[in-house]
């Protein structure tokens, strides 16, 4: 879906340097390839173990199930690339979903309701960004606070109850198909293509890498670091809201308790996809593969009838092993 490995930058170079520093190309490619091989190998194993995995309907099923985490992970990738972290994505999913649900219940036009969700999510992200960049607070603390605030707001405005009773056409966002491809998968593809473009072809994208690579150097070379950092968190909030739209359509209901622990799934997808938690290194293609690995794993373990407790162990192990491989590969290429 997305061409992998075109975005590697020399992290130490100032942001005005050419986007593709030749020396940085190979390791990133190799690592991305590694993640992709992991996905293919995992699929191969599942294909051997169960006849239900490699069917068109199941693959579309996995793609649809992965869409929500994949979209949240786009925002997470932006934030982690910039050297930050966003723990509030799950709560932002909930509060934007609730905003969407309440607008729909009040029979507002669909476009307005969708806008309400996107604006709500962006505002939460914007607040995160302002506090991180202008308040000079650690992202961990700011987004931890927002995680609680947004969740509380979602519960408060709904009095803890799910919001439902929408016009039937709304559900088409989840159940509709374009050709044979489910609408959430198409939405995910569009989000990835757009975000990939932003990250690799715009100055904003370059600054995301630059800030994560060396914030001080970026600032000294005249980039409005605070402004761009604020926007990075706003993007994350926007992505959470986009995921909330799909989630709400899927469940045909907006739950104030939705999205719990989504932050961990999104961080996992990003990190499995090869993005460095230190910032400055990583691609969206990797994140997509990371999200797919998690989705395929959950799906496969379900198909195999593996106990849900064992599933948690396996998923945890995969996250650790993926990052371990990543680190080993990195070391190999550096020496």
């Amino acid at each position: 879906m997305v061409a992998p490995g075109t975005a590697r930058r020399e992290t130490e170079s100032p942001p005005t340097a050419p986007v593709r520093a030749a020396r940085g190309q190979l390791p990133m490619r190799a690592r991305q390839f590694g993640t992709l091989i992991g996905l293919v190998a995992l699929s191969g194993v599942l294909w051997i173990l169960t006849p239900h995995f490699l069917t068109l309907s199941n693959l579309l099923n996995v793609a649809e199930q992965t869409s929500i985490n994949a979209i949240v992970a786009v925002g997470m990738t932006f934030v982690i690339l910039s050297g930050g972290i966003d723990l509030s994505v799950g709560s932002i999913v909930a509060v934007s979903g609730v905003a969407l649900g309440m607008a729909l219940r009040d029979e507002q036009p669909l476009a307005l309701a969708l806008l309400a969700a996107l604006v709500t999510g962006s505002i939460c992200g914007l607040l995160n960004g302002l506090l991180v960049s202008f308040g000079n607070l650690p992202p961990f603390i700011v987004t931890l606070g927002m995680m609680s605030i947004a969740r509380g707001a979602a519960l408060l405005i709904t009095e803890g109850r799910p919001v439902s009773g929408f016009q039937p056409s709304f559900r088409l966002l989840a159940t509709g198909r374009i050709g044979f491809i489910p609408a959430p998968v198409v939405a995910t593809a569009i989000v990835y293509i757009a975000a990939h473009f932003v990250l690799t072809r715009t100055t904003f994208g370059r600054y995301v890498y630059a800030i994560g690579g060396n914030e001080e150097a970026t600032r000294l070379s005249g980039v409005a670091v605070r402004f761009h950092k604020t926007m990075i968190y706003a993007v994350s909030g926007l992505m959470s809201a986009a995921a909330a739209i799909i989630l709400t359509a899927r469940l045909n209901s907006a739950q104030p308790i939705a999205g719990m622990m989504y932050e961990l799934d999104a961080i996992a997808a990003t990190v499995i996809g090869g993005t460095s938690l230190m910032g400055g290194e990583g691609t969206l293609g990797g994140t997509l593969v990371g999200a797919l690995i998690m989705g395929v794993l959950r799906n496969g373990l379900n198909l195999l009838g593996v106990s849900s407790f064992l599933q948690q162990i396996v998923i945890g192990a995969v996250i650790v092993v993926a990052v371990l491989l990543d680190t080993v590969l990195k070391r190999k290429h550096r020496t």
């Binding site: 051997i48 099923n61 439902s164 799906n299 379900n302 198909l303 849900s308």
Partner: protein
């Protein structure tokens, strides 16, 4: 390269064998629970597994990591449909939300048996989802059981405090209605306070402590769940009134049974999750064989008292 070729060959062979092994003939039933980290659902699984073994059915039990995660539950249902299960038994994590998943089951022509928590009737009707049956206990009857017990032991004279569950939660509301209807027949039973303690033990403690401050003459507390009842037990102990206030709970948790045996609690309404699991699997098998089922299958409820524990 050679190695890669060999690998491909092996994969192909296994792939072929696998197709042959596919049709073993045993019908498969999926049981999708809210969670597997609550004793209630662990018991349900045990009952379901015993029935499955007895009837020669392959049972697939899955649950989301968190009880409230309907989206994960939906994913599990979608995945189960992919494996070609012949029937789906489900305890919905959200009465409305789960309907979207059930639509997918319907489209795949997988019959649905709902267990323990009802599917929202209107949402199901709107989506055109038909469920074969509902297997569960009648919470209203359970509340009534508790109310009738109070009328009997109090001689129709009591001052009652009620600890409610989360407002708007069907389970708690039904229990409450049943209890109120039962004690409504006794004119000398007065409900002096009724407040939510949100199913939680510590809130049960706090709320009941406040109630005792406001109404020192309370002689009975009915809690819509045992956790809240156990909280009230602690509040009573703190007030030095153990044994002077009747405590009636719901669920018959192990801790509650111990409290009843020790005399700190009086009664609790017991549900039988293992029985629900058994009936659910049996119902699923009947559906697979083309039998029609009643819309509701009630699983018994029982009042646990100190006499019953002996």
């Amino acid at each position: 390269m050679k190695r890669a070729l060999a690998l491909v060959c092996v994969l192909l062979c296994v792939g072929c064998n696998r197709e042959a092994a596919k049709s073993s003939g045993k019908p498969t039933v999926a049981l999708v629970l809210k969670t597997l980290n609550h004793p209630f659902f662990v018991d349900m699984r045990r009952g379901a597994q015993e029935a499955a073994d007895r009837l020669g059915v392959a049972l697939q039990v899955q649950a989301a990591e968190r009880e409230i995660d309907v989206e994960k539950q939906m994913q599990i249902v979608e995945n189960m449909i992919q494996t070609g299960v012949q029937a789906l038994c489900i305890t919905p994590s959200g009465s409305r939300e789960i309907v979207s998943a059930l639509v997918k089951a319907r489209d795949a022509k997988v019959p649905i048996v709902v267990v323990d928590t009802r599917v929202d009737a209107k949402a199901a009707a709107d989506a055109g989802v038909h469920t074969e049956t509902f297997v569960g206990s009648d919470n209203y009857q359970g509340g009534k059981l508790a109310g009738d017990y109070l009328v009997k032991v109090s001689g129709g004279r009591a001052r009652v405090a009620i600890l409610e569950g989360i407002p708007g939660h069907e389970t708690g509301d039904s229990r409450l209605r049943g209890f109120r209807d039962a004690v409504g027949s006794a004119p000398s039973i007065a409900i002096v306070a009724s407040q939510p303690a949100n199913w939680e033990r510590d809130q049960g403690f706090n709320v009941f402590q406040n109630m005792l401050q406001a109404h020192s003459d309370i002689d009975t507390v009915f809690a819509c769940s045992d956790l809240m009842a156990l909280g009230a037990v602690e509040a009573i102990r703190a007030a030095g009134k153990t044994g002077k206030i009747r405590v009636i709970g719901f669920d018959a948790l192990e801790d509650a049974k111990k409290a009843i045996a020790a005399g700190a609690m009086d009664a609790s309404v017991a549900q039988f999750p293992a029985e629900m699991g058994r009936v659910a699997v049996e119902s699923a098998v009947k559906v697979i064989h083309g039998e029609k089922l009643p819309a509701d299958i009630n699983v018994k409820l029982e009042l646990v008292t100190r006499d019953a524990l002996k």
